[in-house]
Symmetry: C2
Subunit: 325 residues, 2 copies
């Protein structure tokens, strides 16, 4: 099943969310407009789709849900702009990054601007519970990243550590996407909880698969270089398992023990790590864990009203596992 | 008159705001706590004082006003952290900057975290008008800075251009401080407008004086190196007047025409510009403009209820002009 099929249920509304996101580029300054046009509208739209789908179980208030879907996609985009600036990443979604085209200064300020715009959309829902959750989620994301800046190029990291990292980085925003859809559609508390947990677990599964694809995907499909986590010194699940299962003569160990090695050697270590992961059972093991989170995400969905969006959420969870990009 | 005397009216409450700001450092992660402790609590507190003083004319709801004062001081702090990261500034408020101690990565993320925390405090007021103004102000500040990144080391800039720049950078947040105090204390619309305009014009005056002090202040009093605007390629009012009044053999012209000159030559040009400004009528002319904005800020204050805070706002406007730091 393709993303487009799952989105069918909210296709028109998702298009409206996209056009609302595009409207953010309508600013007086041509320079600011150019920067905004460069970063907006390029994603898969999974987060806004989650808000809309989660809003389908009760009172589907399109205006409120669109406003929140826009806020969430903007927050996501702003975090990417800052992450790329911090990591000095050259490419994102198949395009040069803001920092590579216009410098880090503009990337930092542009991220700030888009955070603020996102905050204004969140405020426009008029729902204080959602507005507060919005601010708290950004604290979780950025606070989590701060705590983890010390982890770069560290070999001793536990599975729990990894899961905590991706919970903050990805699952928190997926969870905000679904919980806000639930709240804004007047869902009862138990349904809010189910949709929140769905979003959270889906986010964990999504990030595990992202981390797998950073080893076995293609640059063309991913829109960014493969092996980028290793080159940033980020220990993801596949690399962790590689360290555990091949403690001797391990390219990750060599790379992380000597992060200042020449770029050519670095690339060679990364290439070797990718090869080792690809032909080991590690990929399958990682997919197993992602699949466990997919199952956990869907576990309670049956308790929600029997609406088409319930099946769409299940299909989306399957797609999060089977996607190649 | 000293700042402390003016603050007297809200002294206890300002202390409460400061302790609320300090409470932001109480987080689980010792590393995040360390970063937060480093940046919080060091300012003059003029913005939170403005919110409290502006709230004194009608229903002084301390809880709401404290919450908003905290939000505004946090937003201000976050913008400083990002500005220092962008400018690679080594010193702020007499202390090494976050970027110089822990790197740009952490400075960007810390700023994001503090913006988010500020947003949560703003949301905690429960007042949607104030929450939306809060987000819009951050857009004004960061959007303004983006538009102006192209201005660095440009010699052709008008007075209007300069005033627009400092309106976005400083006056917008001063204005948010007073307008939110007015709104949260249930001021009638005409009083809200008067206090908003007061904050805005005071902010312009404040920034003009800041820009003067970057020429005639001392590093010890300012807590940062003198001449920092010139070294960043920022054309402030004193430098603009120097260009106008000494079109030939002008160190600012030389510096801006050749921004990549050796650091030693750069420092020599800056030193010469500072000397030329100091012994010309430029300082007086700049103070005159600041004073015009001070007068404009206070023009309508007489229409507010005759409360002690009215005099405090006038005194504060005087102090903004006479301050040496």
């Amino acid at each position: 099943m393709e993303l487009e099929e799952i989105y069918q249920l909210v296709e028109e509304d998702l298009a409206k969310a996209k056009s609302q996101i595009d409207s953010v580029t309508e600013v007086d300054s041509p320079h600011l407009a150019e920067l905004l046009q460069h970063i907006l509208g390029g994603g898969k739209g999974i987060r806004p789709a989650l808000t809309l789908l989660a809003g389908k179980f009760y009172d589907y208030n399109l205006d409120l849900l669109l406003t929140m879907a826009t806020a969430i996609e903007l927050m996501h985009t702003a975090t990417l702009v800052h992450d790329d600036a911090i990591d000095k990443s050259p490419v994102r979604r198949g395009k040069p990054t803001v920092n590579s085209l216009w410098g880090e200064e503009r990337a930092v300020l542009l991220g700030d601007y888009v955070f603020a715009k996102a905050g204004e959309f969140a405020a426009d829902t008029g729902n204080l519970r959602v507005i507060i959750l919005f601010s708290q989620t950004l604290q979780t994301i950025s606070g989590g990243e701060i705590v983890q800046t010390n982890d770069a190029f560290k070999l001793e990291q536990t599975r729990d550590h990894y899961l905590e990292r991706i919970s903050g980085k990805t699952a928190s925003l997926f969870s905000l996407a679904t919980v806000s859809g639930a709240i804004l559609s007047q869902a009862p508390e138990d349904s809010i909880k189910i949709l929140k947990d769905y979003g959270f677990n889906l986010g964990v599964a999504f990030q595990i698969v992202d981390d797998i694809l950073d080893f076995v995907g293609t640059e063309q499909e991913m829109g960014k270089p493969i092996g980028s986590d290793l080159s940033q010194g980020t220990l993801t699940l596949p690399a962790m398992l590689l360290l555990e299962q091949y403690p001797d003569d391990n390219p990750v160990k060599e790379l992380f023990s000597n992060p200042d090695m020449p770029e050519k050697d670095k690339q060679q270590k990364i290439k070797r790590a990718i090869e080792m992961v690809s032909r080991s059972p590690i990929v399958k093991q990682c997919y197993q864990l992602a699949s466990d989170y997919r199952a956990e995400a869907c576990r309670e969905l049956g308790k929600l009203p029997d609406k088409p969006s319930r099946q769409a959420l299940k299909d989306l969870a399957d797609l999060v596992i089977s996607r190649k990009k």
